[in-house]
Subunit: 582 residues, 2 copies
């Protein structure tokens, strides 16, 4: 009863405050209730240089000033273009907009100060901790805006926050914030805040990937894990081996040319979203068999369940100099092109079923004592090449958890199979990116896609997939990769990634499955899902911001899913609160 | 082992046949392997009248010839417009298209014979069993097409099948079928094959509803259950009481005017998709309180869980002459406008929590012996008005299952709460529309949308919704509303509906949640999910057709979700079959 009263009191207090829907929520955040208008001819000052806002300015170089200038152009053209009149956040009939007649208080200048000097090498492709993403933003009641950051990327983060303070007025070309004065200090909890996309099971056009990078940047997410190949298809053009995509792509137009790759990686780098490729090996590489059958064992072997996790099977042979030569050639072709823009390369290594190697003429065994040294050699060789290209290797957790390989400690391990794995892997001394399937797999819970004939019907029924249920945004939000770790282990956790594995995702349903659920992970990684006191952030505070953020992303062209009914976005959150009726 | 061998043999036999992806599958269906081309200047003969195919012809009247002429126009312009080149159904590199050079065999005439005379009253708004939807379609190896049906609606069904036989050629304006000669006899298993949409929790624009009607017609589904109002909002304009939508809609533009209603109902009728409204009462009607607070009890009462199933609460007072007058005025306004196009009206009646009536000044009780006679009167009065307008009342199952009301036997009961309900309700002698939540609720399984504050966090975790998991297409397909019934009970089952309740569905994610899963129910209702032998249709036969059908719907502009990866649509189904590895 006492907690009910307390809860009601808290709910009341929250309801009395205006919703200030910045997502992710800044570390320190004070607002007022003065309304200010933003002029389209806003002047921009950057470290004492006066710059005009220019629509559609794209940076030609990676000079700090250019990065910032392009960031300002993007931020303001997003705000002026999104036409976000937030009627769906107010009770029908409520007059929530400021008067646009009479004397308006205008914001006339955005003053940006970058206090540090960007490291021209690292600003494009920072490893975890190598770029300072913090920023301070103040907006005085009389319209002075000051955005201060150490790095140009910090400025970009601050700009995203800045434009979230404004709404468009239904009267037309007026943009206002009702929240001045504003004081914000902000910085991320985790350095690595990513999304995994999978372009082997379904192809995603370049434009789709670019708009997804935009959405990541809006969410202050900074990594795009690009799982580009797998056993299903090989869409990546490797100019020295064009047969790979010519025989391996789902369709002649479903490929990424070197120009496409350059465009995607550069587009991300400019926005502080580092793109990195995964070419998964020695499993999940069957599509190479379509052009190089001699390199692959168990290609499309059946019953697939004996040889791999899903059809079609296909592993690199494990004791083959031809495979070594192929991998070298592949990396020699690819790495010089991407290492301008990225510090990472993911070599996969997940889900190997040992039985596949009984079919491998270079191995002919499924015995661990035979396979383990071969796997160790395979990983060591490929990682040496990765390092030689000045890239840091990333692998899936099985390498150290299941195959028990001894990898160098620069290798970053991506955990995924469930609870406790971050503890295990950090206790072995590896840096970790967490994608715990129980929280951060966005594809789960919509049903089985492999077929069951009538003789196995009962085994398949009711045809749920392996990792259901669908992870609710609240469950996604509840995950903290650093939970239950020692201080030393916690330091090894770089951050996490939500994963949009694409067995049943293509460009037609990607947006509503990824957004705004990925945003929930984005805030957990940037802001943390708990208050400084250690208490969970209340859904009464979090949910209305996420609902608003969904609407703003929709206004920007992302087909994000609704998380609640319109009645609830239009009312105070406690009108849609579950309360104990007893 | 024996069953494995048998299964492999069956798989092989199926693989050797070409996929003939008609959805839903006709009752009798023979195909060959002659390729025929369809000419854009196809001549159309209808009962000895020669008609030219005209792009975009809309019927002005409901004359049979006009219905057919519009149907032909729609079918052919769909085919010629969809640009469905089925590369995604063939292994990359396979040459699957016919040669378009040289002597092509052309289909030059489509000969349509309607053997019966439409009942001009019933053809627009048939009740279950009142229109004959059967048709025969033959396509000879030398290009003669004969489509025969008893009714004009049967002709429409046959036209949908006809255009599914064709693909567009990548060389341009060539449309071909590789399946001639074709012989089809077809008719539906169930008379009522519907989809429920919910425009109170989120608004769906008229255009969205019209395109959904198109998609229903393609799937030979013939009912759109339009749950138009609820406690969340009142989007329906009632000219005699404009305050209802003015105060009850989510947004001034989020309403259905009489013109909109006429357009939607007529659009459906023309396509053999009967639209019918549900105005749910005496529960689920809270939005009336926004304009008529005196009629409603427990409006937005809290904790909601004591008074209703979800926020906001709101029931009609149960012993109020003002409510009677209101309902009469509402029906008097609405029924004359819709009864041209529909034979049904759904009065709801679900999910009443008796405690709401403790707050009702006309009742002040939650006792069953007080409430039951009042509920009986309420249902009887409203149903009398429904009947007076020559409409048939439909209600949710609680009326006869939970409140144990004695309703007239013309009332159709919609079952939903789970297994066994069809048995119960048919054994009481009522006609049934089945929407078993365990199979046919399309909204389930994506997470909770009501909020849980920290004090109830543990109770909410992990924030799944009440009816998860998401129903896989296979599970949807597995449901037979007539399973485990006596012959007499089975006769009372009109059919079923899949339901897209819209707490977390709006126009942005509607398509991938509804399609192609609704198609799975569509086939279960039209064709039955079992062979004549009683055996389940094999997924090896069903799935490739559904995968193809999804691609064709996508080509027509529906953002249907992918059900498997592209590798599997491009290969024979047994390459994505789960087989026992032991």
């Amino acid at each position: 009863m006492r907690s009910l009263l307390l809860s009601s009191l808290c709910a009341l207090l929250i309801a009395l405050q205006p919703v200030v829907a910045v997502w992710p929520i800044p570390k320190k955040f004070k607002t007022g209730n003065t309304t200010l208008f933003l002029h389209q001819n806003l002047e921009i000052k950057y470290n004492d240089n006066l710059t005009q806002y220019t629509f559609g300015y794209e940076a030609a170089t990676f000079d700090s000033h250019d990065i910032v200038r392009a960031g300002v152009s993007r931020a303001l053209s997003t705000l002026f273009g999104e036409q976000f009149v937030p009627w769906m956040l107010h009770k029908p009939g409520d007059k929530f907009e400021p008067d646009v007649n009479g004397n308006l208080k205008w914001i006339k200048m955005l003053e940006i100060t970058q206090t540090g000097k960007d490291d021209s090498e690292k600003i494009l492709k920072p490893k975890a901790g190598e770029v300072d993403e913090s920023y301070n933003l103040t907006l005085s009641a009389d319209g002075e805006v000051k955005l201060t950051a150490v790095s140009s990327i910090g400025v970009l983060r601050g700009l995203e926050t800045f434009i979230q303070l404004f709404y468009q007025h239904s009267a037309g070309t007026f943009w206002y914030t009702p929240y001045a004065p504003v004081e914000i200090e902000d910085e991320p909890k985790f350095d690595h805040r990513g999304l995994l996309i999978d372009t082997s099971r379904h192809f995603f056009p370049v434009d789709h990937i670019l708009r997804t990078i935009d959405a990541l940047a809006w969410n202050k997410m900074n990594r795009l894990h690009f799982h580009v190949t797998d056993s299903q298809s090989w869409p990546l053009e490797i100019p020295s081996m064009p047969e790979l995509h010519k025989k391996g792509a789902h369709h002649p137009a479903f490929t990424y040319s070197p120009t496409d790759v350059d465009r995607i990686f550069k587009y991300g780098a400019m926005r502080g979203v580092q793109v990195y490729f995964e070419i998964d090996m020695p499993g999940h590489i069957g599509s190479v068999a379509l052009s190089h059958p001699e390199l692959i064992t168990a290609w499309n072997a059946r019953p697939y369940d004996a040889y791999c996790a899903q059809p079609p099977c296909g592993n690199f042979k494990l004791n083959s100099t031809k495979v070594d030569e192929f991998v070298k050639r592949l990396f020699d072709d690819l790495f010089p092109r991407i290492s301008k823009y990225t510090s990472y390369f993911h070599t996969g290594g997940d889900e190997i079923k040992y039985k596949a190697y009984t079919l491998d003429d270079t191995v002919k065994s499924d015995k661990e004592d035979v396979l383990k040294p071969l796997l160790q050699k395979f990983f060591d060789k490929s990682h040496k090449q990765v390092r030689d290209a000045k890239l840091t290797p990333i692998v899936w957790e099985e390498s150290v958890e299941k195959y028990n390989l001894a990898l160098e400690k620069d290798v970053i391990v991506q955990t995924w199979t469930g609870d406790g794995k971050v503890q295990n892997v950090t206790s072995k001394g590896y840096g970790v990116i967490d994608s715990n399937v129980n929280y951060w797999y966005l594809d789960c819970g919509r049903g089985q896609w492999v077929l069951f004939d009538n003789n196995e019907y009962a085994r398949g029924w009711p045809f749920n997939d392996w990792c259901g249920p669908t992870k609710s945004w609240q469950r996604i939000y509840s995950h903290d990769p650093r939970a239950n770790l020692t201080a030393e282990q916690a330091k090894l956790v770089l951050g996490g990634e939500v994963a949009a594995w694409s067995e049943t995702i293509d460009p037609l349903n990607f947006d509503p499955l990824v957004w705004p659920r990925a945003s929930a992970a984005g805030e957990a990684l940037w802001s943390g899902n708990k208050l400084e006191s250690g208490q969970n952030r209340s859904q009464l505070e979090v949910a209305p911001r996420l609902f608003e953020w969904r609407e703003r992303m929709v206004a920007r062209g992302i087909r994000a899913a609704p998380l609640t009914q319109l009645f609830c976005t239009q009312r105070s959150p406690e009108e849609c609160l579950w309360e104990n009726p007893n």
